[in-house]
Assembly symmetry: C2
Homo-oligomer: 373 residues x 2
Amino acid sequence: MKKIHRITHTHPSTSARTGILSLDHGDVVTPAFMPVGTNGTVKGIYHEHVHQIGYNLILANTYHLYLRPGVDVLGQFGGLHRFSNWNYNILTDSGGFQVFSLSGLRKIQEQGVVFQSHIDGSRHMLTPEKVVDVQNVIGSDIMMVLDVCTAPEIPHKEAKIAWETTRTWAQRSYDHWIQEGGERNLFGIVQGNFYQDLRKESALAISEIGFPGIAIGGLSVGETSQQFADYLGYTTQFLPPDRPRYVMGIGTPDYILEAVANGIDMFDCVLATRSARNGSVFTDDGMIQLKKAAHAYSQAPIQEGCTCRACTNYSRGYLRHVFKANEMIAGMLATEHNLTYLHTFMKNIRTAIDEDRFPEFKKSYLERYYGGS
Amino acid sequence: MKKIHRITHTHPSTSARTGILSLDHGDVVTPAFMPVGTNGTVKGIYHEHVHQIGYNLILANTYHLYLRPGVDVLGQFGGLHRFSNWNYNILTDSGGFQVFSLSGLRKIQEQGVVFQSHIDGSRHMLTPEKVVDVQNVIGSDIMMVLDVCTAPEIPHKEAKIAWETTRTWAQRSYDHWIQEGGERNLFGIVQGNFYQDLRKESALAISEIGFPGIAIGGLSVGETSQQFADYLGYTTQFLPPDRPRYVMGIGTPDYILEAVANGIDMFDCVLATRSARNGSVFTDDGMIQLKKAAHAYSQAPIQEGCTCRACTNYSRGYLRHVFKANEMIAGMLATEHNLTYLHTFMKNIRTAIDEDRFPEFKKSYLERYYGGS
């Protein structure tokens, strides 16, 4: 099994850990947040700025890229790195979640999944093998296996069937990946809905296959934060500590802290960029909404001390104005802020772990975060 | 009368000229194109990039800024330069055109104009004096007088009444500006619709008042390009050569060349930025539409040799993809291209004038531009 993650420090009394993830386009320090660039662009920000902030691993979506621009175009350009001029690491989601959440139709068959394009309604089939092939064309530094996502609160029987398909597909994905040369990295995905027996079985079985990294799917889908924490902690205990662990779809400071405490190394979430475009920005005192009238005369930056383009050049008053006027610069600046904020936040988390004061950091951060405006 | 424009060279056989416009936030070389930043932001691009391209004079709109964020906010921040963190020159349009084109209601009275906000339908009155006051709060390096814009093809009688109001308002604006200290610069606006007698009368009368610069309004409102050229040439002959001349609302290479040939020094137009957001970009072979399928596999830049962020980093294929996917980066990159293209174009025009080969430059540029794709 390929070893790509070197743990540099583990906090003595929690599972929090720092490490270095070695990928083809550079080392990534963990725990790491990955900005989402669905279509091969992180919305509202130049790639060069994403990198200037400090990110060298972003996420893109196989589902979207497969539909548009399509494998032909990506192949012609020699993959997504060259096409999008992003010369650092790319992780691609497999499409399992997008087929579940975006497609008008989803037919799970033994062979794969039939779905309808959310763009033009055309029908397509993705199989575990095809998803690996597409990601090989994309040139993803980390590929994900095709999985079956499920809604929360479905019956045990349904959840079990879905998980069993996920298991078979995971093995087929792995076999196909190895057969095609085992280039770069393929991660497995743990499913099992909100059933402990299925989560345990899934964590053990996916770990067994030999993927260089393991993701936990099916969390942060509408459950309470307590349920999230419970299932995350429960699942993670069955994962081998030597492999990078990735929780899919989380990205608020409180969820990130919870995940880090449970030994998670990687996260992604559209929230940082999506909420930025709607005027919601991170501060140490919680999220604030820039469109509010309260900011009209404010000469303060979003967050005192933040080094981003928005905070070093513009007041909340100006940002409110451009949001109210629906100006593109509003979302552009808020995006730079949120991504900078999360990057600094992750850096502070890593330092706190390395200095054996992660629980104290978590506690004091959350006190201010929840006590804020 | 304030002298702010020094002619550095006039082409011997046309009226084309180069010069230096001295303003409070730095010298501007002319002929100059001004990017439009209606709400105190040029759409889709950072102020620092606008300046990096080479612009040091942008346009903002009194009408929009008066309605939002309002004079109170702008006053509190010490004007638009500080509010928007643009530390170079700003010209503000008076609102005369916006009241004409955007407001649901426009009642021209002797005192001023009553109109309805296009944002919330609220009623407002702008008088010539108030418009100067608002622009003084904005801190515009060049303020424009309130004028009465008219639609093409209205009867002579109507056009005459409108022009006479414009004349009275121009004098009141000037008097009020002087009374308030005559800070920075106030430009008069020539109107007169498409009637030679009114254009001549207007050009002479506005020139007489003593404004440091003179604008020609009411052109590029739907007339043919021949009509535009005819009325521009006809009007300009009555303007004093020692004052900067500004044609409002033009910004395509062909119209700019025509205006320069007629001795015009300044232009503004939303087209460069608006069409960029729709995927239309300037090339030496005419405008091209990036969304076209023809570009899907193209590894070429928009324009070979262009130094902009889009052309130095991205292919037409990638730009097409992000336009089709409605990604913000599409408009952002196309905006950088169009503004860079026009800046380079203006520089080439100035060099051609200085080297006494402007007519040859104009001819060969237009041959390729109209013969292109």
